[in-house]
Each structure stands twice: as structure tokens, then as C-alpha cells.
């Protein structure tokens, strides 16, 4: 069974890229969300096995959404994604339960490696 994933990013462009990349690697993208509120709602609804979560988003940012998702399911596997400049968030996210941190722009090999680690461990 393919691992199910939810891709969260406020940019359609970013979601599309990540979705293509993940599907190419055999993951099954079962949900997308464009902000933190949507992410929490979809997570509740679809219970994906893996979440990629952008940090800078409108309405509810990635860190806030991370907190809510972890409260819903303390075993949730969430990988934070953000561009240069948000590295300081990495530690905060990891304390809040994120399994990994991917820096944008995405390096496909790196993304694949990180996700594999997260899913394996």
C-alpha cells in the first residue's frame, strides 16, 4: 500500500510540484490544503499517514497547524517545509513534534531521502 500524504502550502505552484514529485516516488497524495485551518480540517477528515506542512501561510501558519495536528494525533508524521529565512523555526517545529524540516527550493533527491527516513523510522 502506498503511503498516503497531505500536501499543505498556500502556493498552488508549490503544491503541484510537490504532488508530482511525491506521486512519482509512489506516494499517494490524498489531500491538499492552502492554509493552516484547511490543513487541520483535512487532517481530521482524511487521516493521511504523512503531512508536508509549509510554515508561512495565511489564516493559520504552519507552526500553529502543527500544534493542532499533533494534538489530534500525537503519532502524526509531519515534515515542515519552508524557504530560506525560516530556519529558526526548525527547532521550534521539532520541539512541537515535527519529524523533519525540508528547505525550499526542493531538492528532489533530498526530499525523497527525508521522507523515506521519516516513514521508515
Amino acid at each position: 500500500m502506498a503511503t498516503t500524504v497531505m500536501v499543505v502550502d498556500d502556493s498552488l505552484f508549490m503544491r503541484k510540484m510537490l504532488r508530482d514529485l511525491l506521486e512519482e516516488q509512489g506516494y499517494q497524495v490524498i489531500a491538499e490544503a492552502a492554509d493552516g485551518n484547511e490543513a487541520v480540517a483535512r487532517f481530521r477528515e482524511k487521516a493521511p499517514e504523512l503531512v508536508t506542512l509549509d510554515i508561512v501561510m495565511p489564516n493559520k501558519n504552519g507552526l500553529e497547524a502543527l500544534g493542532e495536528i499533533m494534538a489530534l494525533d500525537p503519532a502524526a508524521r509531519v515534515v515542515m517545509c519552508s524557504a530560506v529565512g525560516q530556519e529558526s523555526m526548525a527547532q521550534e517545529a521539532s520541539l512541537a513534534g515535527a519529524k523533519a524540516f525540508i528547505l525550499k527550493p526542493f531538492n528532489p533527491e533530498h526530499v525523497v531521502q527525508v521522507l523515506r527516513d521519516v516513514c521508515g523510522g
Binding site: D10, S11, L12, F13, M14, K16, M17, L21, E32, A34, D35, N37, V56, M57, P58, N59, K60, S82, A83, V84, G85, K104, P105, F106, P108
Partner: protein, 562 residues
């Protein structure tokens, strides 16, 4: 990973971000403390940077990155969002747009970033304007006209080094309206929409043909089937047209930018308000509206609006209001540009038109105040100098009026001296399939869009009078000149043996006129197609359509014919 497949998605989404940035910048100048606006700008630049980095567009990354950093200073480090910050962000957004145009044209980037990244990075606010020491409060009194671009509260927040956060942490932010990015939506090429509209139009023409055939056959079954088809076609037409509708929103950022620039240039203090962004209009109409609306806004800012001092002296608030609003009115869309400026004086408009030989004193005496205002739409009415004399209307108003009529719409002007002026454009929501009044002139049938028809009248001969060498008739207390469509088309004049003269009232050259025809044949739903060359070169013809009986009919541009 092949990134070229993502290019068009990048371009279209990046443009959405740029538009949001432009609009938010302009909005923030009015309310510089608005945290959600500041967040939106930060996020916009941040997202642009991330997207451009994925596409490996280094130049765009650099500009977006500096814009993001500047907004970070505003968000977290107490930098005041002043007009200097606004200018830099707008400049950045323009630069990125130009870079994207290069990308789109598949050519080497020819737009260098220049020194903008450095200026974004090194921005320091201007020193606070010298103020009386005993006056710590920001100048908020209307009686003290401040320069339009004063930096609000610049005096109360000291300029700080970027690294020293001197303000308390940001207060919780009002959640911004959710920008729905539905995962279930698809993007289609606009040509496909045009094609769908075209097919729907052909189907409607064909349905009219079936209706016409059944007039001879009189088959109840066929009649019922055609009636059902007509209903379905109406629903199909509505849906197809809905798809072609774009919210007015799509063009408003250009107006915000131009009003901002005009106000800055003329040093006038004003508040620009936009209402009805969500109202949908056919995208081709929307595109054709940009120039006319810009013309009207320029008139409002340059000429309609007084200087602050003059306003205060007249007992008005120092800051003027220019408002652009869009509203639905049945199957029409009303676009109004209004200001609370000095207004227009009909008598002065008339005097000016006489002086320029545009109308005779005789004609002038027939003009109602409403008609006098419409004089501004006559070509040649205004020159730049004259404009100021007659309280400032007329620059390009003839052009505005002409393009609105081309779209099948109308323009109306209302004004009250000292109170302000309002221009109202009434436009069809969609084009291509229109309701038209079909008229007969000699052997020719012509169609006039119903939006251009104010009303139809059947006159008795005694209701017509002569003024000079012109026939006029009275409508609601206004003397309207009568013109013959036959004459305009070069046909023999109609005879009216029963003494009843059919006509329709329309607006031409800014005035209401009665257009006499041989017969009024009623209203039809027509699918208008553009005429090819050389017919398209003929003045007064706006397109062609096929009636149910297969007869060809031309759409008449009455204003152009007269």
C-alpha cells in the same frame, strides 16, 4: 526534475501574488498600522521568493527576498510603513513583472535588477518632519492640511536599527479573509471559452430557425420540443457566460495604482474607495473598461477634486473621496466613478460650448441641465486649459463615451456644483449574445442593442414641432431633436400614411435624440458575429447576425452613423 512544465503555473500564480502586493501596499498607505496587511505583504514576497527559487529564476528571487526582508523589518522591527516603503515595494513588484514578461517571451532576461535590491535592503525612513516641540500629538485635525504623503506617526516611532526590536511583539492578527484555492478547479485557456460561447450562439441562431420553420408547420410536438430546447439553451448560455465572467477585482489594482500616482503628482489629499470588486463581467468587456475608467478617475482627481485648502474653506473635509463602484442591475452592470469635489456648472458648460462653436445659441436654449453636462462628451469640447475654466471635465470624455457605446453601454453624468460629480456607465454583462431592437428602414433590417435604446415612442404628427430647420419633440419636458435613420443610411425617407411616426430614443454625442425608422419590429435575442473586412471598415456597422428565418441583419452603431 523538468521545471519547464511548471512555468505557466508559476507565471499565473506569481501575478496573483503581485496583484495582492500592489493592492495591499495601496491599502496600507491609508491604514499603515494594519497588521494583517503587513502580514499579507510579507507572505506575498516570501511565497514569490520560494516559487522563483524553485524555478531557478535568480533575479526574481533576489528582488522578492529583499522585499520580504523589508517587510520583516516592518513586521517585527518597528520600521514604519511609510510612503518610502510603499514606493520601493511597488517598484519591486513592477520590476518582477517586467522580468516575468521576459521569461514569458522566452528571451534572455533583459531587465536588470539594478540597484533596487540594495535600495530595498538599505532603506531608512526620512527624518521626522520638524514639528513644534509643544505639539506631541500627530496632526489629525482637518483644519490643518497636511501634505498628502506625510508619514503617519513617523514622529512618534523613532527610526531603529533593523537588529534592535524596540516595539512590543505583534498583537494577535485578525484572520484574513480565506483565499479559496479550490483543489477541484481547473484552468482552461480563454480561447476555449470563446469557442464555447461561439457554439452556444450558433445553437441559439439554429433554435430561432426551428421556431421560424414551425411558424409555417404549426406542429404542436415540434413547438414543444423547440420550446424545451430554447429553455435548455438559455440555461447553457447562462452557464457559458458565467464561465467567461471575471470579477471586477481582476482590474482594480491598476486603478489603485493610477489614482495613487495622480494624487501624489497633484499633491491632493484623497481617499480612494472601491466597492463591488466581486461583481462579474465578461472578460472582454472588463479589458475594454480599463482605459475609460482610468480617464474618468483622472478627471476626478485632476479636475473634480479641489485642493485641501479650498475644500476646508468650503466647509468640506480636507480629504476628498473618489469612489469607484460596481453593481449589478438586472442583466446590466453599473460602473460609477464619483467624487465629492467641486462639481460641474451646466451654465458654464453651455457658454463654453457656444464659445467654441460646437452648438448655436439657439440650440443652447433647448438644452436641459442634464444635456448641458453631456456636452463634455462632444469631441472638441475640452482642451487642457478650458478644462480648468469649466471646472474640469472633458479630457477624453468623448473617447470614453465612444468606447462605452461600442460595448453596447451608455454613459450618464450627474453633478451638483460644490457637491461633486458622478459618472455612471451602464454595461451589458456579456457580449456576443445580446438583446436588440430590430427596426425596418426601407428594404433594410437593422438591430440596435437594447442597452442603447432608452425607449421607443410612436409619435403623432402634431406632437412634432420645428425649431429652426430641425424637427423636435417633447419627452419628459426635454426637447429632443428628431433624426432619420433612413437618411443616415442613405435611403429614401419613410412615409407615414397613418400619421404615426415610430422612433426610438437613444443617446448620441452626449444628447438624447429621437431616431425615426419605418417600423419597429420588436426585440430579438441575437448572436452577434464580427464583420470581416471590408465590411468591418464601414462606419456604423457593429457586426452581423442571422434571424430565425435565415435573414441577415446588421447591428447598427447609431452614434457612429449620425
Amino acid at each position: 526534475m523538468d521545471m519547464s512544465q511548471y512555468r505557466s503555473l508559476f507565471l499565473s500564480e506569481a501575478r496573483e501574488y503581485l496583484r495582492t502586493i500592489n493592492e495591499t501596499v495601496v491599502g496600507l498607505e491609508e491604514t499603515p498600522e494594519d497588521r494583517s496587511g503587513i502580514d499579507t505583504l510579507f507572505r506575498g514576497a516570501h511565497s514569490l521568493k520560494g516559487m522563483a527559487a524553485s524555478m531557478e529564476y535568480g533575479d526574481i528571487v533576489e528582488v522578492a527576498h529583499r522585499m520580504e526582508d523589508l517587510m520583516l523589518r516592518v513586521r517585527d522591527m518597528g520600521l514604519v510603513f511609510d510612503s518610502g516603503v510603499a514606493d520601493l515595494l511597488l517598484e519591486g513588484s513592477d520590476l518582477i513583472e517586467r522580468m516575468m514578461v521576459d521569461l514569458e517571451a522566452d528571451r534572455e532576461p533583459r531587465t536588470p535588477a539594478g540597484d533596487l535590491p540594495d535600495r530595498l535592503a538599505g532603506y531608512t525612513p526620512p527624518p521626522p518632519p520638524p514639528r513644534k516641540a509643544a505639539d506631541p500629538a500627530p496632526a489629525a485635525s482637518a483644519a490643518e492640511p497636511a501634505p498628502a504623503q506625510a508619514t503617519p506617526s513617523a514622529a512618534s516611532v523613532p527610526a531603529v536599527e533593523p537588529a534592535v526590536p524596540s516595539t512590543p511583539p505583534p498583537t494577535p492578527v485578525e484572520p484574513e479573509r480565506t483565499k479559496e484555492l479550490e483543489v477541484t478547479s481547473v484552468r482552461v485557456k480563454t480561447e476555449l471559452l470563446d469557442h464555447l460561447a461561439n457554439l452556444t450562439g450558433e445553437l441559439i441562431t439554429n433554435k430561432n430557425r426551428l421556431l421560424s420553420i414551425n411558424r409555417d408547420l404549426a406542429s404542436p410536438q415540434l413547438g414543444e420540443a423547440v420550446g424545451e430546447t430554447a429553455k435548455l439553451l438559455r440555461a447553457l448560455h447562462d452557464e457559458v457566460m458565467k464561465v467567461r465572467l471575471m470579477p471586477f477585482e481582476a482590474i482594480v489594482d491598476r486603478f489603485q495604482r493610477s489614482v495613487r500616482a495622480l494624487a501624489k503628482k497633484s499633491g491632493k489629499e484623497l481617499h480612494f474607495e472601491i466597492v463591488g470588486r466581486e461583481i462579474g463581467l465578461d472578460r472582454s468587456i472588463l479589458e475594454s473598461l480599463v482605459d475609460p475608467i482610468n480617464h474618468m478617475l483622472r478627471n476626478a482627481v485632476d479636475h473634480g477634486m479641489e485642493e485641501s485648502a479650498e475644500r476646508v474653506a468650503a466647509g468640506k473635509p480636507a480629504r476628498g473621496v473618489v469612489k469607484l463602484s460596481v453593481a449589478r442591475d438586472r442583466d446590466r452592470v453599473l460602473v460609477t466613478v464619483s467624487d465629492d469635489g467641486r462639481g460641474m456648472v451646466p451654465e458654464r458648460m453651455i457658454a463654453s460650448a457656444i464659445r467654441k462653436g460646437l452648438i448655436s445659441p439657439d440650440e443652447a436654449s433647448q438644452l436641459s441641465p442634464r444635456q448641458a453636462l453631456m456636452l463634455s462628451c462632444i469631441p472638441g469640447f475640452s482642451t487642457a486649459r478650458e478644462v480648468t475654466d469649466v471646472s474640469g471635465r472633458g479630457v477624453g470624455m468623448d473617447a470614453v463615451n465612444a468606447s462605452i457605446q461600442k460595448l453596447g453601454g451608455t454613459l450618464a453624468i450627474e453633478s451638483e456644483p460644490g457637491k461633486g460629480t458622478r459618472f455612471t456607465l451602464a454595461l451589458p454583462m456579456t457580449i456576443a449574445i445580446i438583446h436588440a431592437l430590430v427596426v425596418q428602414c426601407g428594404p433594410i433590417k437593422g438591430a440596435v442593442p437594447v442597452t442603447a435604446v432608452l425607449r421607443t415612442v410612436e409619435l403623432r404628427r402634431h406632437q412634432m414641432t420645428r425649431v429652426g430647420n430641425r424637427s423636435v419633440f417633447n419627452l419628459d419636458g426635454e426637447a429632443l431633436p428628431l433624426l432619420s435613420l433612413n437618411r443616415a443610411l442613405g435611403l429614401p425617407l419613410g412615409r407615414f400614411p397613418d400619421g404615426i411616426v415610430p422612433l426610438f430614443v437613444t443617446e448620441a454625442k452626449g444628447r438624447r435624440v429621437g431616431i425615426v425608422v419605418d417600423r419597429l419590429l420588436g426585440q430579438h435575442e441575437l448572436f452577434i458575429k464580427p464583420l470581416g473586412r471590408p465590411l468591418s471598415k464601414l462606419p456604423g456597422l457593429g457586426g452581423g447576425a442571422v434571424l430565425g428565418d435565415g435573414e441577415l441583419i446588421t447591428l447598427l452603431d447609431v452614434a457612429d452613423l449620425l
